[in-house]
């Protein structure tokens, strides 16, 4: 693959574009909640807390600027979901877009699935660059002509017009989830997709909206016995019968739909044993007071799970680290990368300010050689698997001059702070990068800060 993700050491990342308002006063609706490239990388979709979707399209490469790839400009924007109130259950349903997933392109139009907490919608984005003119019974402005005034007939013809991009909802998949949807994933059969909430996973057919199959149900008969919830789920990239789901207890279950209709019994269970010498997983003690009783919960939540493009590995993101698992080995991950180890001793304060509940996502590059995830202070991290090197970069307006190379950042955990380093206590925990996406072929990445979308490219010579 030409230009596909090289190592993080030889790639120099440059600022390309930033989208969004500059002002610090961020409206809640403008908070970006999901970012996703389509299968070709030509389109980049974002969803926000206000239920809106904005799609950017990459311009064709400019011959006069061989140093950079095409820019991403606004292609379409629409309101995907609206706030709702379920009066029967007294439940307020947020319009926040939790996930967007593109369907592979089959014809001229583009299709994507977008979901909020309760409802999944299939949107068709189509272009219109011609319009029919010369109707017999209609004027050009649309008014109907009196048929008795028609004396001659003509054949309407299509004439070119300014490009118009229209988004229309083609399917609404509703009322299938009692709990809050956290993931959707399109199957490699391109006919079905799954949606996962806290306790259940449903399988849908893209054409059928009034029914779905329940394939995983971990709701206990007695809710008092509830010990874990589903945090993320994804279909295997080329085995249409296989999917995985991660839990709040730090385990990942791989299920095979050929084994049974209800996949409550997993085919594989990926769980790392606790290391008595040094806990590899982040442990947090919560002391809860319920009347006169006490409880300790240990939270090792996995916030995201992603298969590699080749389908041989999967990556999980928990609060402090990124782990790569070989699908053939359930006992432990094959690689573990610390994202911000300096936060391990700060977990109690991160609990106090609710940061411990931040759901970071992670992504692979096109050839699965590098993985990326976000952190605080608008930092994001890349880990080169082959070269065993990592880098910390920052998405900020200060380093936003066109084609300026991003300087690696370093956090000082303690002791003497070197020049250009930033100390842990100076980190801004309100500036978090939860959503990142990598172009499927090229070294182009989209990084979402709270309300801005940054696009970085590797430096072409």
């Amino acid at each position: 693959m030409a230009g596909a993700g090289g190592g993080s050491s030889d790639v120099q990342w440059c600022f390309s574009q930033v989208k969004g308002a500059i002002d610090d006063d961020v409206a809640e609706a403008d908070i970006i909640s999901t970012v996703e490239f389509n299968h070709s990388g030509e389109l980049l979709a974002t969803g926000d807390k206000g239920g809106r979707v904005v799609i950017f399209q990459q311009e064709l490469e400019n011959k006069s600027q061989p140093q950079s790839r095409g820019e991403y400009n606004v292609y379409s924007t629409f309101q995907s979901h609206e706030p709702e109130f379920d009066y029967l259950k007294s439940l307020e349903i947020e319009e926040k877009i939790n996930k967007i997933r593109w369907l592979p392109q089959k014809n001229a139009a583009q299709f994507l699935l977008s979901t909020n907490d309760k409802t999944i919608k299939l949107w068709k984005i189509s272009e219109r660059d011609k319009r029919p003119e010369g109707y017999n019974l209609k004027e050009e402005d649309g008014r109907y002509r009196d048929p008795t005034t028609v004396t001659t007939l003509r054949v309407p013809v299509f004439r070119p017009m300014d490009l118009m991009v229209e988004a229309s909802p083609r399917r609404v998949f509703a009322n299938a989830h009692t709990y809050h949807i956290n993931s959707i994933s399109v199957n490699s059969d391109y006919e079905t997709y799954l949606s996962a909430d806290d306790l259940r996973i449903n399988l849908w057919h893209l054409e059928i909206t009034d029914r779905s199959f329940n394939i995983v149900d971990i709701k206990p008969a007695n809710m008092e016995e509830l010990t874990e919830v589903i945090t993320a789920a994804e279909f295997h990239p080329n085995q249409c019968n296989t999917f995985v789901y991660s839990s709040s207890k730090g385990t990942i279950r791989l299920c095979d739909m050929r084994a049974s209709a209800l996949c409550d019994k997993h085919s594989k269970l990926f769980e790392e044993p606790e290391d008595p010498k040094q806990p590899p997983l982040p442990l947090l003690l919560l002391l809860e007071i319920i009347s006169k009783k006490k409880e300790i919960i240990i939270i090792i939540m996995i916030s995201d799970v992603k298969f590699s493009h080749n389908g041989r590995f999967m990556m999980t993101r928990d609060y402090l680290s990124v782990k790569i698992w070989d699908l053939n080995m359930e006992t432990r991950p094959v690689e573990t990368y610390q994202v911000h180890e300096y936060l391990r001793s700060k977990l109690c304060s991160l609990y106090e300010n609710d940061c411990i509940f931040d759901k970071f996502e992670c992504c692979w590059n096109g050839n699965d050689s590098v993985v990326m995830t976000g952190s605080y202070n608008n930092f994001f991290r890349m880990f080169d698997r082959a070269q065993r090197r990592d880098v910390t970069l920052e998405a900020s307006r200060e380093s936003s001059r066109p084609r300026s190379v991003l300087k690696p950042r370093k956090v000082c955990a303690g002791g003497k702070r070197k020049k250009d380093e930033i100390s842990v206590d100076s980190l801004d925990f309100n500036k978090k990068i939860l959503h990142t996406a990598w172009h499927p072929q090229d070294n182009i990445i989209a990084v979402a800060t709270t309300n801005n979308l940054y696009i970085f490219q590797d430096k072409l010579n």
């Binding site: 969004g20 308002a21 609706a29 403008d30 974002t46 926000d48 206000g50 239920g51 809106r52 904005v54 606004v74 924007t77 309101q79 609206e82 706030p83 007294s90 439940l91 307020e92 349903i93 947020e94 319009e95 907490d117 709990y179 809050h180 806290d198 306790l199 809710m223 008092e224 016995e225 509830l226 010990t227 919830v229 040094q278 806990p279 442990l283 947090l284 003690l285 919560l286 002391l287 809860e288 007071i289 319920i290 009347s291 006169k292 009783k293 006490k294 409880e295 300790i296 919960i297 240990i298 001793s345 977990l347 109690c348 609990y351 106090e352 609710d354 509940f357 303690g414 309300n451 979308l453």
Partner: protein
Amino acid sequence: SPFWTEQRYCTGELGAGDRGDYIKAPLFQTRKRRITVLYSANMSSENQESEAQMESGEEKQDSQEKDSNPLKSEEAKLKAKYPKLGQKPGGSDFLMKRLQKGQKYFDSGDYNMAKAKMKNKQLPTAGPDKNLVTGDHIPTPQDLPQRKSSLVTSKLAG
């Protein structure tokens, strides 16, 4: 007597002295929990000691940044004190909160209490904080914060 003081943060069963059949929960459910131990009358004196120890343990944790397993030792300490931990009946509060996200309750108890308190015909209306729908003022449908979809185009598209 204060009717519903600390119970506001408890989701345990309502005892005999409570308002019985009113289901009550705060309108906004914060995920915050106090890490320090609350003293309860039914606790044995042994637990009183553990409270003091717990707090000093936290202080130690803050000062010893170089401790490689600050949380492991804290966990071990607590497990030694309370060997029956982890087997609490009643389910995990944290998980229940996550599942109930978005739930809004109208408190008929508040409504009737405030109504009964009023001698005058004038009923209190919502103050400047429209989000506070429980308490002394009587909520009306007009007071509930209106959720409208954003009619403004996203700034990303600007």
